[in-house]
Amino acid sequence: MANAYTNIVRDGLWDNNGVFSMLLGMCPTMAMTTSATNGFGMGLATAAVMAASSLLVAAFRNAITQEVRIPVFILIVATMVTLVDLAMNAWMHELYKVLGLFIPLIVSNCLPLARLEAFAAKAPIVPAFLDGLCMGLGFTIALTAIGAVREIAGSGTLFADASLLFGPFFKFMELRLLPADMGVLMMILPPGGFLVTGLLVVVKRLLDLRAGKEIQMSGAHAVA
């Protein structure tokens, strides 16, 4: 049993990473990674929604019939998103203002829905919750990584404004790695998002290849 849980954790965080392996949830991945801080915040919000909605779907899995499952899933996700949206507006207002439109858009992020359909709808409560949480944390790792690369290349800082968005405790994370005028502005603009994501997918393939694993050549092409 412990082994199954380890697999769920490893799958979510790395092997089957939502962004780098399955290529799901691309919109916030590109839009909210102009800095590592934004990526981290966006990832955590998504992880909270995924963990909560996986738990709910697993709890009601015997009551949800096959025909109406997709609308039910979407409504559950939409409710969780509304809760996160209101909570962030109240307690993390600075971060809420930065993420803006992309908090309600977690509803139409394919990653939560894909995990509900593929895992939570058929699993007991505990593994489903763990899967939602770990997939969400894997998403957070990916977004933070993309954000870090873009931020370092674009403005020379790392985790800038972390203390402003998360609270004064996170002041120690703010770093300046390059002088202020060394940044390549393009990396923060939209083209940089596509470029860095593409290159990091290649990096993950390279690491998997080094580890002697079979690399996945195709992403989740069928998901719109």
């Binding site: 509803v107 139409s108 997918v201 719109a224």
Partner: protein, 193 residues
């Protein structure tokens, strides 16, 4: 009249839904392997975005805003969009069975295309009147279709190109999209809408 035209150009080209706002990327990477499916998907999405934006505008103006139900916006909008998609599916099946065959699985998935919800939410924030918001939604979705077709054309050529093994598939797609986004940045400055 002039400000409407400028706003539409701004929505379609300058603040392109895919390349500048990053909405609808799943379908952008998913269904652009052939030009005809990309065009069909663009057409269906254009219809859904326009219809659901009109419905969402009415819901927001006459239901959510007067009764202070703003917190129900996400849930209501996604329901309106799901119904609009169902409606589109029925219409397409009646009007053009061949297009229905071609789009197949992708039609119901328009519900989770964030471009649809994204445009509707953008409209709520911008407080436009009915005509302006309908035109904005229509222009945004035209921009979406345009980029889908261009990218599908690029990928058809890319399928024949010798790509390094590690870059095959999505990574090279992202890099091409990055170049396309750079090209579209040339439009900035035409309009600020």
């Amino acid at each position: 009249m002039k400000e409407y035209a400028l706003m539409m150009i701004g929505a379609a080209l300058v603040n392109n839904v895919i390349l500048a706002r990053f909405l609808g990327l799943c379908s952008f990477m998913g269904v652009t392997t052939r030009i005809d499916t990309a065009a069909g998907m663009g057409l269906a999405t254009t219809f859904v975005i326009t219809v659901s934006s009109m419905a969402d505008w009415a819901v927001q103006t006459y239901l959510l805003a007067p009764y202070g139900l703003g917190f129900l916006r996400t849930v209501t909008f996604i329901l309106v969009i799901a119904s609009a998609v169902q409606f589109t599916e029925l219409t397409v099946r009646k009007v053009s069975p061949s297009l229905f065959q071609m789009l197949g699985i992708y039609l119901p998935l328009i519900t989770t295309n964030c471009a649809v919800l994204g445009v509707a939410l953008l409209l709520v924030e911008s407080h436009m009147n009915f005509l302006a918001s309908t035109l904005f939604a229509f222009a945004s979705s035209l921009g979406y279709s345009l980029v889908m077709v261009i990218f599908a054309g690029l990928r058809e050529r890319l399928a024949l190109a010798p790509v390094p093994r590690l870059f095959a598939g999505p990574p090279i797609g992202f890099i091409v999209a990055s170049l396309l986004a750079m090209a579209f940045m040339g439009f900035s400055g035409i309009s600020t809408g």
